[in-house]
């Protein structure tokens, strides 16, 4: 018995080695290259923190961060409000419950890239056409072609798609609440509004935390939506951080520089997630 290798170790060892080789090792390499001036090919030297300093001074990077944050915060809030409302509706005593749930969950199974292409057509052709026939001049042009409005189009598509998954999470949360609580509160004369804020919302608080953290994290990594809708344009108005790293790293010969950008991006995502979890979980306990 003592000479045999523990089977548990054999079960995890290959996974550990492969995971390290294809996840942790490239990550460490990325951190390493961020301190060099490597372009992805040829010779390189150590340059210390100069890539990091450059990122902070780079207007293009600043714009990408600003766009990504604006997009992620607004989309996170909208997705959570909308999916909570839909979940409350789907949780009520409604007719066609199964069919409606199936319809509302459908966007989650569709490729964001292709959905983006379809919405691209809606924004470019359909909406202007309808707006023109109704005499609404502000909407008569493609919003994706307007540097000030293009982000709204991306928010719409992102919310359309992501609300499906968040609705499912909220529904799962609502299913855990005992019906007795509502019966008791209605005996006490609570109205629907009080019922929601005093019972429903506190009890699904853990699901609110999960939804906020997941939605924020996913939206900070936005990529497919932008490729399908604007390609980062017009100009660079909708260039997200992941798009910038992809473009600069693979096409712009900025391997080391974008590695530094990626490290900063990583630190920001982890920090935001930790702060969100801490803050929202504290609220859960308080209530």
């Amino acid at each position: 018995m003592s000479k045999k290798i523990n089977p548990y170790v054999l079960m995890v060892l290959p996974a550990f080695i492969i995971f390290f080789s294809f996840h942790t090792y490239p990550m460490l390499q990325g951190v390493f290259y961020s301190f060099t001036n490597w372009r992805g090919y040829g010779d390189w030297d150590f340059v210390g923190f100069s890539n990091y300093i450059s990122v902070f001074q780079d207007g293009r990077a600043r714009d990408a961060y600003f766009f990504t944050f604006q997009f992620a915060i607004i989309s996170t809030i909208l997705v959570n409000i909308i999916s909570l409302i839909i979940a409350l509706g789907l949780n009520a005593k409604i007719k066609f419950m199964k069919t409606l749930r199936a319809v509302y969950f459908m966007p989650n199974i569709l490729s964001i890239l292709i959905v983006g292409f379809i919405f691209n057509y809606i924004f470019a052709i359909f909406v202007p056409l309808i707006a023109e026939s109704l005499g609404l001049t502000t909407l008569a042009t493609n919003i994706l072609g307007n540097p000030d409005l293009a982000w709204i189009g991306i928010v719409i598509v992102a919310v359309w798609q992501a609300a499906a998954f968040n609705t499912i999470l909220y529904l799962a949360g609502l299913a855990t609440i005992s019906q007795d609580l509502y019966e008791a509160s209605s005996l006490d004369g609570a109205n629907k509004w009080q019922e929601f804020w005093k019972i429903t919302f506190p009890l699904i608080a853990p699901f609110f935390t999960i939804n906020m953290v997941l939605a924020m994290k996913n939206f900070l990594m936005v990529f497919d939506h932008i490729m399908a809708l604007t390609g980062g344009g017009p100009g660079r108005a909708t260039e997200s951080i992941s798009l910038l790293i992809y473009r600069g790293g693979f096409q712009g010969g900025e391997f080391a520089y974008q590695s530094a950008n990626a490290v900063i991006y990583f630190i920001i995502i982890v920090t935001i997630s930790v702060i969100q979890i801490r803050y929202l979980q504290k609220r859960e306990v308080d209530m």
Binding site: P7, Y8, V9, V12, I18, F19, F22, H23, T24, Y25, P26, Q29, G30, Y33, G40, I86, G89, A92, K93, I94, K95, L100, A102, V103, Y104, F105, M106, I109, L110, S111, I114, F117, I118, F119, Y121, I125, W160, F165, I168, L169, A172, E183, M221, D224, M227, A228, S242, I245, Y246, G249, F250, F255, Q258, S259, A262, V263, F266, I269, V270, S273
Partner: protein
């Protein structure tokens, strides 16, 4: 006390709301069958006849069946190997969480959930091309490895709720630890396997960024990638584009219509853990 009457106001509001979801799909379906002239007359109208010219042309231009085959191959292999390997890793971790080394391993895997892909993307592509893995095989391997973080998290939570007594009895009867896993635990994991399988399939089928950076050969392209290349080259004929999008979305929609109850409950189970 209970009233079993349906709330028609909410039902009606939800039906109205579902238009927002179904409308883009309606637009796609009707315009996939129309000619540009018909669309110019009315975007919303039903097509005058069911002609499949757009579909035939889109199939040729995107090499649809090749891309479909690639997506199918990648998704099936990813799901099968993810279920077989990730559950085993999670089992070993779940049964040894009292040991420090396994606990560290658990947090090591799970913390990878918060690593954004762009930070590994650039070095990874260098590494994969050095190893000659810029192909579907390499892609499948990456899906299995990158899914580990979230899947281990799901599986460990579930395995902890399975009583150990069953396993101890089997060991006493002379079953090995491997035998215990394959004969007792793996079948008991069925609900979690369904959840992980569904989430993994959705991910592998719809993913765009990873195939974009990993697949180098045009003949290896998956369905989303083909749409991307097609869109940037032939964006003028929208009817053709819609036929192409519809064909790319249709396999998933058909699977969903058949198995939606199962898919929704699978995803919900993943959410509660």
């Amino acid at each position: 006390m209970r009233n079993n009457k349906h709330n028609w106001t909410i039902t009606l509001l939800l039906i109205l709301g579902s238009v927002v979801i179904l409308f883009p799909l309606y637009l796609t379906v009707v315009n996939a069958f129309k000619t540009p002239q018909e669309t110019a007359e009315s975007i919303l109208a039903l097509p005058s006849s069911f002609r499949f010219d757009n579909f035939i042309q889109a199939i040729e231009m995107t090499n649809f069946f090749n891309a479909f085959g690639n997506s199918f191959y990648i998704t099936v292999l990813t799901v099968v190997f993810t279920l077989l390997t990730n559950s085993m890793v999670a089992y070993a971790i779940a049964r040894n969480l009292h040991k420090r080394s396994f606990k560290i391993l658990f947090y090591y895997f799970v913390s990878a959930m918060f690593v954004p892909f762009p930070i590994i993307m650039l070095p990874l592509v260098k590494q994969m091309s050095g190893l000659g893995l810029m192909n579907p095989t390499g892609l499948v391997m990456l899906y299995i490895v990158y899914g580990l973080a979230f899947n281990v998290f799901l599986y460990v939570g579930y395995i902890k709720s399975i009583p150990k007594e069953l396993e101890e009895a089997a060991i006493v009867d002379g079953c090995s630890r491997w035998g215990v896993f394959w004969r007792i635990i793996f079948p008991l994991l069925a609900p979690m396997n369904a959840t992980v399988g569904i989430l993994t399939a959705l991910w592998a089928w719809n993913d765009f960024l990873l195939p974009l950076v990993i697949l180098s050969d045009r003949s290896d392209m998956t369905l989303p990638l083909v749409q991307f290349v097609f869109q940037s080259q032939f964006s003028t004929n929208y009817n053709l584009a819609f036929a192409s999008y519809l064909m790319a979305l249709l396999p998933m929609i058909i699977v969903y219509v058949i198995a939606q109850r199962w898919i929704i409950s699978g995803v919900t189970k993943g959410a509660i853990k």
